[in-house]
């Protein structure tokens, strides 16, 4: 009854209410919170923009009159095709290839080790492990992810190379292993990306609906069949995205590879020699005495910009894969 009355058109509408906004503390607080949150959100965007601006003005085109940017002095062709990187010598060469080579050899070794192990661990945690064990393992993985990378670097230098690589490859197989070498860096990098791969892949695996697993079992699958032939393909997009993010992290990793692989730009695929990655060059150059305005200083930005473009590309690819191949489960 009362409800019917309330909506009845016969009730005379109230009149004379003010529609204009009036000041109130509640509304002021609302506006304040909104402004602070917006500020925080914009900060990261602004930082990114500032970094890109810096890259562009130092590496591509200088806006300050009388100064030049890196690519106004070194041609893009030299940068991409020269096979030597020697900014600190009298005969300067600015070929990015040796640094790219170091980066990809080391990231490649890391991926070959980290991706399969991370995925296997994720499959174990999601499909095989008892819930109790899973709850225990998650924080352990996070601890692994929280170890500073400089620790991994020293681990590679003082343990992996002398106690693992040298006994196997040098003593047994007779291959010379430098004290700084790409292999040890790749190995620890592999360990470093395991938590990323494992955690993201596990999320993807666990998002696969229970019904698909049951359907698999009902067709006479073993646990192995269900895990590898039903669940993993169903979580494909998430797994690939976790791989791409991990590789992108491996490419951008700095301290560990700088310590473990050394600072010797070398265009070679021999993983037992010292190599220099793009990140390691940037650490070295910025720690050393590199006055602003010199070509050496500008090369930092050129290398940084290249690295930025590569990781940006990887992240875009990861997002694209996520969206393109996502299986929608309601």
């Amino acid at each position: 009854m009362s409800l019917a009355n309330a909506v009845s058109p016969l009730t005379p509408p109230k009149t004379g209410l003010r529609l204009q906004k009036q000041f109130s503390w509640a509304r002021a607080r609302e506006a304040g919170v909104r402004a602070v949150l917006l500020g925080c959100a914009s900060l990261s965007l602004l930082t990114t923009l500032a970094i890109v601006y810096m890259f562009l003005t130092e590496a591509v085109y200088s806006v300050t009159p009388g100064t030049t940017a890196f690519f106004q002095e070194v041609s893009l062709w030299n940068f991409l095709a020269d096979t030597e990187w020697s900014p600190q010598f009298a005969d300067k060469h600015f070929g990015i290839l040796p640094l790219l080579c170091g980066t990809f050899v080391i990231a490649g070794i890391g991926s070959l080790i980290g991706l399969p192990i991370g995925l296997a661990a994720a499959i174990y945690l999601s499909e095989y492990a008892k819930p109790k064990f899973r709850r225990m393992m998650k924080p352990v993985l996070e601890v692994l992810a929280g170890i500073p990378s400089v620790v991994y670097g020293y681990f590679a230098l003082v343990f992996v190379t002398p106690y693992a690589l040298r006994p196997i490859f040098q003593s047994l197989l007779g291959i010379d292993v430098d004290i700084f070498n790409a292999m040890s860096a790749g190995v620890v990098l592999g360990v470093m990306i395991i938590p990323t791969v494992c955690s993201l892949s596990e999320d993807a695996l666990r998002a696969v609906p229970r019904g698909l697993r049951e359907a698999g079992y009902a067709l006479g699958s073993t646990k192995y069949d269900v895990s590898l032939k039903v669940v993993v393909p169903a979580a494909f997009s998430g797994i690939v995205a976790s791989f791409l993010l991990a590789i992108s992290r491996a490419i951008g990793e700095t301290m560990a590879v700088c310590i473990a692989a050394g600072q010797m730009p070398r265009l070679s695929l021999n993983p037992f020699r010292s190599m220099e990655t793009m990140t390691a060059y940037m650490v070295g150059a910025s720690l050393g005495d590199t006055p602003a305005g010199t070509i050496e200083y500008k090369s930092l930005y050129a290398v940084g910009f290249t690295l930025f473009l590569i990781t940006l590309g990887m992240n875009i690819l990861a997002n694209w894969v996520m969206n393109r191949f996502r299986e929608v489960y309601e």
Partner: protein, 279 residues
């Protein structure tokens, strides 16, 4: 009693349709599954109480009963799908052609190949139509592509889906309509060549046209398969089943020829349920 009459009519229609289709007795009397004194527990909670029932070969047996009465639990006990639920346990015996399926030396994987299952929600794998149907034979070790193609074609034909998908076997199964997906799941279950097919409300998420296709299909399939189907739709039970079992609160109240159960139920609870007085 108009409801009773309408059921009688449905059953009658069905029998006519059946005898018109092929000249054979309406129900077979060979026992395929024999369940004795089955008690089933989810942890502490008992879901089935002392259920004993036989399931006839090459016939359709329908389970009806209000929500939560244990129909799915009982159905899933028949191919040990409950094994994968943490904390589930049981006592009693389930015999498939005289063999205890819960015996320690029984291989669950081969049991489930013989006792296939179709679920309420269609569960196509995110693979191609072909790969969905070929999944079972593949994991069973069938590698030969020609052999697989034959199985796929045959299964899709039996599931009355072949004509709709024969030109796009490599398309994703997720692109099919709901009704097609459910028939695909039936085809997938048939591809492992089971002799028993368990169906848990296979048509409850489908529109009337798709439902009637699935019902026709069940009708066809019972020539070769033993079919157990859970349904909430009593008209459906009356239309397609030879036997109907009524469950209530974990107990099997009665099981009889469908016609008898719907027209002259022995128990008061059954009558109340099928006339819509509760549930």
């Amino acid at each position: 009693m108009t409801i009773m009459q309408s059921f009688t009519e449905l059953v009658h229609q069905r029998q006519q349709r059946e005898s018109a289709k092929r000249n054979r007795p309406v129900e077979s009397e060979v026992t395929k599954l024999d369940v004795r004194n089955l008690n089933f527990f989810y942890g502490e909670k008992q879901a089935l109480f002392d259920v004993s029932m036989t399931v006839a070969e090459r016939a359709v047996t329908a389970f009806i009963g209000p929500s939560g009465c244990g129909k799915s639990t009982f159905l899933r006990a028949l191919n040990r799908m409950n094994d994968i639920i943490e904390g589930a346990h049981h006592n009693g015996t389930v015999l498939l052609e005289g063999q205890e399926i819960y015996a320690p030396d029984v291989d669950v994987v081969s049991l489930r190949k013989r006792v296939g299952m179709v679920f309420q929600k269609s569960t196509p794998f995110p693979k191609s139509i072909f790969d969905n149907v070929a999944y079972g034979p593949k994991i069973a070790g069938q590698r030969n592509h020609k052999g697989l193609s034959e199985i796929v074609e045959q299964s899709l034909k039996r599931a009355a889906l072949w004509d709709e998908v024969k030109d796009r076997l490599q398309d994703s199964a997720l692109a099919l309509s709901g009704g097609q997906q459910q028939r695909l799941c039936i085809a997938r279950a048939l591809a492992t060549n089971p002799d028993v097919l368990l169906m848990d409300e296979p048509a409850s998420a489908l529109d009337p046209a798709s439902t009637s296709r699935v019902e026709d299909l069940i009708f066809e399939l019972k020539q070769n398969y033993t079919i157990v189907i859970v349904t909430h739709n009593m008209q459906q039970a009356a239309r397609i089943s030879d036997w109907t079992a009524f469950f209530y609160q974990g107990y099997l109240i009665e099981k009889d020829h469908t016609q008898k159960l719907f027209t002259t139920p022995k128990k008061k609870q059954t009558e109340d349920y099928i006339t819509g007085r509760f549930g």
